[in-house]
Structure formats: structure tokens, C-alpha cells
Amino acid sequence: MWERILLRLLPASFRYEYAAEMGAIHAQRRRDCAGIWSRIGLCLEMTADLVVTAVAAHCEILRQDVRQSVRTLARSKAFTLAAVAVTALGIGATTAAFSIADHVLIRRLPFADVDRLAMLWESIPGYSRMEPSPANYRDWKSMNSVFESMGAYRGLLVNLSGSGQPESLEGSSVTADLFPMIGARPALGRVFSAGDDRDGAAGTVILSDGLWRDRFGGDSGVLNRKILLDGAAFTVIGVMPPDFYFPERKVPLWTAMRFAPSDFEDRTNYYLNVLAKLRPGVSAAQARQQMTLISVELERLYPKDNHKVTAYVGDLRELVGPRARVLLTALAAAALCLLLMTCTNLANLLLARGLMRRKEIAVRTALGAGRERLVRQLLTESMLLALAGGLVGIAFAAEAAPLLAKLVPNGLPIAETFSIDGRVIGLALLLTTLTGIGFGAIPALRTTDAAMSGLREGSRSGVGGRRERLRGLLVVAQVSSSVVLLVCCGLLIRALWQIENTDPGFRPEGVLTLRTSLPMPKYEKTAPRLRFYEQVLTGVRALPGVKAAGYTSFLPIVLGGGIWPVRVDGAPPDANAKDRASLRFITPGYFAAMRIPLVAGRDVAESDTVTTLAVAIVSQSFVRRHWPNQGPLGRHFRLLDTDWTVAGVAGDVRTRGLERTSEPQVYLPYRQIADGSLPWYAPKDLAVRGTGDPATLVAAIRRIVAKADPEQPVSDVQSLADLVATDSAPRVVHLRVLGGFAALAFLLAVVGIHGLLSFAVSSRTQEIGVRLAVGARPANIFAMVLRQGAVLCGAGVAAGLAAAYGAGMAMQAALAGVRPDDPITFLAGSAAAVIMALAGSILPAVRAVRVDPLSAMRSE
């Protein structure tokens, strides 16, 4: 019994020849030995012998087959090249798409115990994930028992000065528990300890590897040196390794976050990001449960501030936005589609070649080669092709990886460039093997099948209906996958158009923007700040070619946040929680520079100061929301504990970017910020509208800024048009990649149709000859071939459109409001399929018409 199982391990041809005799020898041996132990020994010996023999025999056959295949493939170079190229395309595209999807969506973030890390947010009516306020953070931290540690961080805008050019940096300020929690270790020095984030402790800073190299020449003597951040001295205590990113890729430095007692006063001051680590054994569901209880308790204690505020326990991966997630998934799906298409093309190539080689194979069968050996030989051939294609494909993907780096979202703690690691290569090789076996097996079985029967029937070269149906099915699959890709691409193009045609609420052409973020202790008082603005704006407005210039706290799109609750006279308190507006302080000239229309009332004026009436310009949506069908001018609302009077109404602006809905906007005069309050909102973004190319103004504006304050850096210089374009830049790159895939798919489908029809025509030459001889008109023959193409295409389009609708539904998050059944796109996809069918069938049809009846029948 055992022996029989072991014998099955041997290759069939070997088994067929020698198994009986080997069995006889084993039987003889068993008879010769006595005693249980020697029998067991014999059994073990036999097992080892048979296993070794089986492996060796298989290797031997493989060696022979590989040698034979290389010889055969080298003889038909065109076929080999085509097959390798087709496979390389599919495997390459899939590998590249998978490695980026893996990098962004799948691979674990590079933090210690990343599975136990959670992001904590506040859910307030209208916003599911709001940055928690320091007071709620402190209470969560002290009241919970589910998290082992909890830390907070926030963005930090600082001017680094002292050595070299002053530079404006977007760093991060973190609590001391944060770095130990994510297992971050410095390359030099130390990370923050509890002493660093106490209110009033001496300033300490940790540098990123990039900043350390660029600014400090990679000098390890930088430790304990003092650097100036916004004019204050900070001691460098550590340098992080090059592959450390937190919370985003480009963060150049970290300072310790301190809370002054005053920070805990306002529970609605939302600005922290909170990261927490679950205790071992505690599930996210348990944590959610407890955080909900804590929220209820906090609402009971602070019914006004924490009204309807709950805690949201989220996954770290939610940092990848739904749009990026959908786009990357679509990319991977498209790559799989392309792989399927290349595989079917490979199978079709192999089938056609197999039919061509029927005679050769029939002869080899006649010479005594068993079917198993022939199938094995053909499979070795297809495996070799697939492996060669796979290796070329992987190399191609490794080359293409840097081009895809733009698709890696910036807001993640991962590197921009990604490598193709062992797992992805493993997957690619697995796919390659499956391709080779899966798409080689059917042709191999069919070919040997045909050869066996071919030998019996003689050499009539008709093509069996079953075989042609299979090839037809493969082509239908190709057409439908390419239709899916084309339609998805079309939908994304429509979405991009939609976005590009969205009115941002301002006119970006001809506007230069730049940032001068004023360092805070130095500019805490409004007087020096106002002097700076006045000096810069006067200088800039005097430049030739400048039509208007103005400052704002944050340009639209650059910052979507800055949202505050507003309270309008007489509104019931419950509704208040939902009424929020995005707040900006602006100088006169900002609306003119941006061409944001003033629809009623007046602009902010230099005469609006702390001593005059507090006035505000609100957006049209603000008016629609609070005073529908009423005159808004002169009405009041409360914001920042101040009563504001509406002096003007401006057009709506897409502050959160073109694809998202934005809150109503409130603009306040820059002179009405009280001394030392809201330093983050101090105007820092300058917009300058010129008559010509805005880039020509940069040098002059830099000089003006340097004259106003030689230590003040200028950063983020770009045209407003570029700034708007960055908003949809990942989408454009993504569309290009997907478009490339769709074009390839289109081409592959054409090749597939062409291949099938050419083969059908050449194997039906005699039939066509007879038809022509008995009087069929060439037009009929032409139509016959085209009809075949049309049927294949029609079936493919029907299946493809249905699948495309499904894909469109799945992609809805990335479609910016374009319906997934957009008729124009679907029509365009079908039209492309018609072109595909025509392009694929025209040459075979022409060849069919050119068949010479006489020679066609003579060859029979």
C-alpha cells in the first residue's frame, strides 16, 4: 500500500516502464529479510530511495524538457518574443500596481505594535472626526483604562533662523509620550522625556535626518547646540534616522508640546491630533465602548461645551483618504484586468501555435511519446515563456516604480519612493507560475488532444468548433475587460473635467502667492505686525504691473480648516453646535487680488481697528444659512466671544478644495485681532495680482520683504493657478497611469481579435475558396469575417458594460459626483469597442477576400 503511494511520486513514464519491476525487487528483498527491525529498516530505506529517485527522475525530465523547449522556442523567435512581451506587460503592470497599493494600503506602518495604535477624534454634530481640544484630551487620558499610553501632536509653523538663510518650516509639536509609544528611536541623542513637555521647561528640538543633513551638514556636533525657532533658543537633543516619518513625510523637526493652564480653558478649541496605544488584550471595540462612556460623563460635567460630543476611535490607516484608497484599488484592479488580458493573449498564441504544430506532435506521439510527456513538455514551454516574461515584467516594474511615486499620498508617515520587496516579487512569481500553468495547460491539453485525433483523421486542417469556441470566449473576455478599463477611465476623465470646471470662487490666473509666517514672540504684539504688513503691501502695490495685493490668514485649499462655531442672534442653542464657519483675517486688497466678488456692502478697511465697531464680511452661503431672504447687512453674530456686525457679503470660496463642500466663510479685518490672541490666524499668505506673468514679481517681492525684516523668510512661492492644480495633481497622475493601462488593454483586445480572425480565415481558406468558386461575392465573404468580429465584440461589450457599471459604483468616492452610469462615457466606451472590432477584423477580412479559389482548393 505504502509502496504503491510512493510509486505514484515517480513520473508517469518512468512508473509505466519500471514500477512493476521495482515492486518485484522490493518484494524479493522483503522475503530475504527476517525480523521486524530489519523490515522496518527496509521500509525506511525503500521510502528514501523512492523519494530520491522520484525527485531525480522529475529533474531529469525537466532538464530534458527545458533543453528541448529552449531549442524549439529559439527556432520560432517571433512567437517567443511576442509571448514574452505580452506576459511581461501583464506581470509588469500588475507588479507595479501591487507594489504601490501594498506600500500605501497594506504594508504595516513602521511603528512599534502598530496593530494596537489608534487615532482618537472628537465627533461633534456635522463632523465625525474633529481634532480634540486639550481639555478633552487631558480628561480622556486620565479617565480611561483601555489605553496603555496616549499622546498628542499638532502642526508647527516656525521660522528657523540663526545660521544661514532664515527658513520657514512646517514641523510638528509632540507630547513626550508620543515617540516612545510608536517605538521611535533617535539616530543621535535622545527623544523627548517627561521634563521636556512641562510648561516653562527650556526649549528642546529634535531634527529630521533631512534637515540635519541640509542645514547642519550632517555634523554630529549639532547635539546640545542652540538653534533659533521664531527667535527663541531651542537646544537640539536628537536627530531621527532617515526612514523616520511622523506624522507626515515631510516633517523636518519636532518640538515638545506644552500646555499652559489657559490651554485647558476652552473645550471647543479643536487642534490636537491624538494617538493612543491599546493595552495588550484590549480590543478596539472595548476601547470604543469605554470612550463612549467617558464621553457621556464629560457631557454631563460640561453640558455646554461637550454637547453631543463623543470620542471616535479610528484606525491609523484612515489617514489614507477614501479617494486615494479608491484610486489605488482601481489601479490594482485595472492591472489585474490587464494581466487577465495578457494571459488570454498568451493562451491564444499558444493555442494557435499548438494547432500549427499538430503534425509535429502527432509524429512524436507516433514515435512513442506518451501524452503525459507531451503535455509536460508543452507546459514546460509555456512556463519558460511565462517565467521569461515575468522576469522582464518585474524588471520593468522596478524601473517604473519611481514614476508611480507621485501616487503615494503625502499625508502618511511613509517614504515617497517604494521598493519592490520580496513579498511583491513572490506574488509576481506566483502569478507568473499560475499564468504559465493555467494558460498553458488548456492549450497543451487541446493540442495533444487534437494531435491524437489528427493522426487518426489524417491532416485535414479544419478547426474544431469546440476549440474555436474556447478561443472566442477568451477574446470576449479580453474585449469586456478592455471595455471596463475604457469606461472607468472615461468616468475618471469626466470627474477630472467636472473638477476642473468647478468654480473655486476666485480667479487664479495671474496671481502670485507666497507665505511670510511671522515668528511669534517677535510679532506677538499687533503693532510690529501691522508695520510689517503695511511696509510689504505698500511696497508690493507700488511695483509696476501689480494690480492688487492682500494678506490672509490662510489661502483657500492650502488650509481647509480654521473652523469656528458661530452663534447668530436669537437662534436656539441646540442649532448652534452645527453652525460653524471658516475664519480668516484679511487685509484690504485681498478680495481684489483674488477676484472674490463682493456682492453687497463693503470690503474690510484700514479704518476697521480694535477701537472701532467689530465688522465682518461673510460669504453668500453664510447669509443663505442664517438669514435666508433677509438683508444681511448690519446683522450681528457671535464668534470668538465677540459680537460682529456684517458689513459686506462676498462670493463663496471652495476653501477645502474643488472636490469637497466647504463651510461658510467669515472674513475679519486684520486690524481687529487683539494683541497676542490667535497668533496662528495672523495673516501670513500674500496674494498678488499682476498684469503679466506672476513669476516675474518674485525677486522684487523678496527684496521688499527683506527690507521690512531681514530675518523674515519667504516660503511657498507659487502661482495661484499651480496651487489649484496641486489639488487635483494626484488625480491627473493616476488618470495617466490608468489611461496607459486602458490604451494597452485596447491594443491587446485588437491584437486578440485580429489573431483569432486571422487564424480562423487561414484555417478556412479552402471553405472560402469553395464559396468563391460557387459564386459567393467577395462582399459576402468580407461581411462574413466582419460579422464574426462583430459577434465577439458585441458579446464582450455587453459583459464589459455591465462590469463597468459595477466598477463605477465601487469607484464612486473618486468620481466627484459623476454618475457611475454616465451615458456619454458608456456610449464612448461602446464606440471604442466598435473601433476595436473593426481594427481587429479588417485585415483578416481583406485576406479572406483575396483568397484565390483555385489554389485554395488545390492545396487540399
Binding site: E21, A24, H26, T53, E60
Partner: protein, 119 residues
């Protein structure tokens, strides 16, 4: 084919050639002959034997023979193998190669014999 191209022969192949040198033998017969010749030192396993036989058939060193022994001694499952003239040539070439190796070994004092005695 040049007999020298197959040299050096794997030990099992050489032993099988020796076993079938004077009479046709079946598989188990070969195993027994080899064991007897080497005083039980080399016991070919069934796997090694048939893998060698398969290759030797392909190389034309041996052939399967249709001649069977007397029916009362025969087992119909058995196949008998006979050495070919080419097989003899190869075996001779291998023996010559080995003899030469032994010469070399003697010259270096690694083996007993004339060269060693003279020294």
C-alpha cells in the same frame, strides 16, 4: 558517439555494465551480482538501479533483450538487459581511465605496486 564523451561513468553505471558483461540479467539479478562482486559493499537500491538503466538505455550502453530464459526459471514481469558493443567500448574506456588513475596514484606513492617498489 565517442565513448570518451561519457567518461567518467557514475559508479553504478560501471557496476551494471560489469554485471551484464558476460550474460543477460534482469534487475534483481544485477543487484545480486553487484553485491556479490563487491562482497556486499555496494547494494544498489531499486531506484538507483532503474534510473541508471533508463539513462543507459537512452545512451545505448545496454538494450532490453527479447531472449528469455527457460520458462520454469522465468518471471514474466522481469525484463532482461544485454550489453551493446558500444557499452563494451565505454566500459573498456572507463577501465582504461581508471587504470591510468591508479598508475598516477602509484607514481605519487598512494597505491601499492611497481612504481612504489622502485622508489
Amino acid at each position: 558517439m565517442d565513448p570518451l564523451a561519457l567518461l567518467p561513468l557514475p559508479a553504478a553505471t560501471f557496476h551494471i555494465l560489469l554485471a551484464v558483461a558476460d550474460s543477460d540479467r534482469h534487475g534483481y539479478g544485477i543487484i545480486q551480482d553487484v553485491a556479490a562482486r563487491t562482497g556486499g559493499e555496494l547494494k544498489l537500491s531499486a531506484g538507483t538501479l532503474y534510473r541508471s538503466i533508463q539513462r543507459m538505455l537512452e545512451q545505448g550502453l545496454i538494450v532490453e533483450t527479447a531472449d528469455r530464459p527457460e520458462p520454469e526459471l522465468d518471471d514474466e514481469r522481469r525484463r532482461y538487459y544485454r550489453i551493446t558493443p558500444f557499452g563494451r567500448e565505454v566500459a573498456r574506456a572507463e577501465a582504461g581511465r581508471m587504470a591510468k588513475m591508479v598508475e598516477f596514484a602509484r607514481a605519487s606513492g598512494f597505491a601499492p605496486g611497481r612504481a612504489h617498489g622502485r622508489a
